[in-house]
Point group: C2
Chain length 225, copies 2
């Protein structure tokens, strides 16, 4: 089965306080994006990456590829104004009959195990959405205050959200809606259910300086320093 990872790195990263989008920030002397690409390339030898970048940063992305990776396995395309449009742009490079991973470029610590787990579930059920449980108490805002919700029913959603192309390609033909915060919501709006798989606590999103520090510590732990 063909395998594509659409790595979406469209954010301008204003929350990091710098001018450089967060996917290019350095983590142990390499760009955040380096670790993301490396994880996918290492997971399956026949996996191809479609890297979706803001138009102004495609050159910077190409430099990372040239410096570290096999050019044959990674293509770059420009993103759109929304995540939905960015993924849609990436999907134009996907051939039919494949498993497609859609992943946040700034979730750079995902493991090969997680990628394999998503692949297997998407192969057998059509979809795989990794989630983790919530360890905090949770409240739901309503018009006149808020309600407690049983935290055991709340799942925090991660990526790679993984789908068979025969589901994802037609789903992305529907009209954009504001509620499309991820691919699962698009597929559901298209009328299908999604399968949840177990995510990873360490599969964090780098959005703030403290996340970069945490990522550094996780990498140090993994390499046994």
């Amino acid at each position: 089965m063909n395998k594509y990872a659409i790595v979406v790195a469209g954010g301008s990263g204003t929350r990091m306080g710098g001018h450089l989008p967060k996917q290019f920030m350095l983590l142990k002397n390499k760009p955040v994006l380096y670790y993301t690409l490396k994880a996918f390339l290492g997971s399956y030898p026949d996996l191809q990456i479609i890297l979706v970048l803001p138009a102004d940063f495609t050159d910077m992305g190409q430099e990372i590829i040239d410096a570290y990776f096999d050019k044959e396995r990674i293509r770059i395309t420009a993103g759109g104004d929304t995540r939905f449009q960015s993924v849609k742009n990436g999907l134009m490079l996907v051939e039919k009959e494949s498993i497609v991973f859609v992943h946040d470029g700034v979730r750079c610590l995902l493991s090969a195990d997680l990628i394999h787990r998503c692949y297997e579930a998407a192969l057998s059920t059509g979809s795989a959405v990794p989630t983790i449980t919530c360890k905090d108490s949770v409240r739901l805002l309503k018009e006149d205050g808020s309600d407690a919700i049983d935290r055991n029913r709340i799942m925090l959603v991660q990526t790679p959200q993984t789908f068979h192309s025969k589901i994802l390609l037609p789903a992305f033909q529907i009209d954009y809606k504001d509620k499309f915060t991820d691919e699962a919501t698009v597929v559901e709006a298209f009328g299908l259910k999604v399968t949840l798989v177990e995510g990873e606590e360490s599969n964090i999103k780098i959005t703030k300086p403290v996340d970069l520090l945490m990522a550094e510590k996780i990498l140090e732990e993994r390499s046994g320093i």
Copy 2:
């Protein structure tokens, strides 16, 4: 107004993998609990702490107090089987007409600002529950799958959950229910609404080794190392 902080450190900390409850684990050479107690003592000069510990660990708690703090301002009492019972035990030492903070002992990075914010809100409305927004997409499990929920409506609950004693003392006279995961749910079961205030991203709960690493980095950032 009298001020009491009930610091609940009843957990046995099995998720840390060690035998020592996590509130006693070392963070930059001092127990986690040291930082929690210091934050409260530093926030208001007239605040008193009621430290609720598992019965087997009250001696260890006393050693921390003897080593670092003014004994007059901290009393220790033994916890119960549930968080509800532990808080109830702590409340037995609270005098009437006070503002009571109930805080997780393992949330050791809270700031004086947060404590002040909770105090002011509890003084004017009777309650203050700090919450932060959720940056992940969220799904709610149901019997036959899961539903996406608008993440802007989801609030993650922190502590110190802060109440006027005239609310908290009678609320804790009601019978225990399994859904009591925090003080807000007790107060609501008693028939009152709670006020949400802004929490802090860095007010993390130390429950896993990686949290200890993150706490270390946050402390280093704060001290400008």
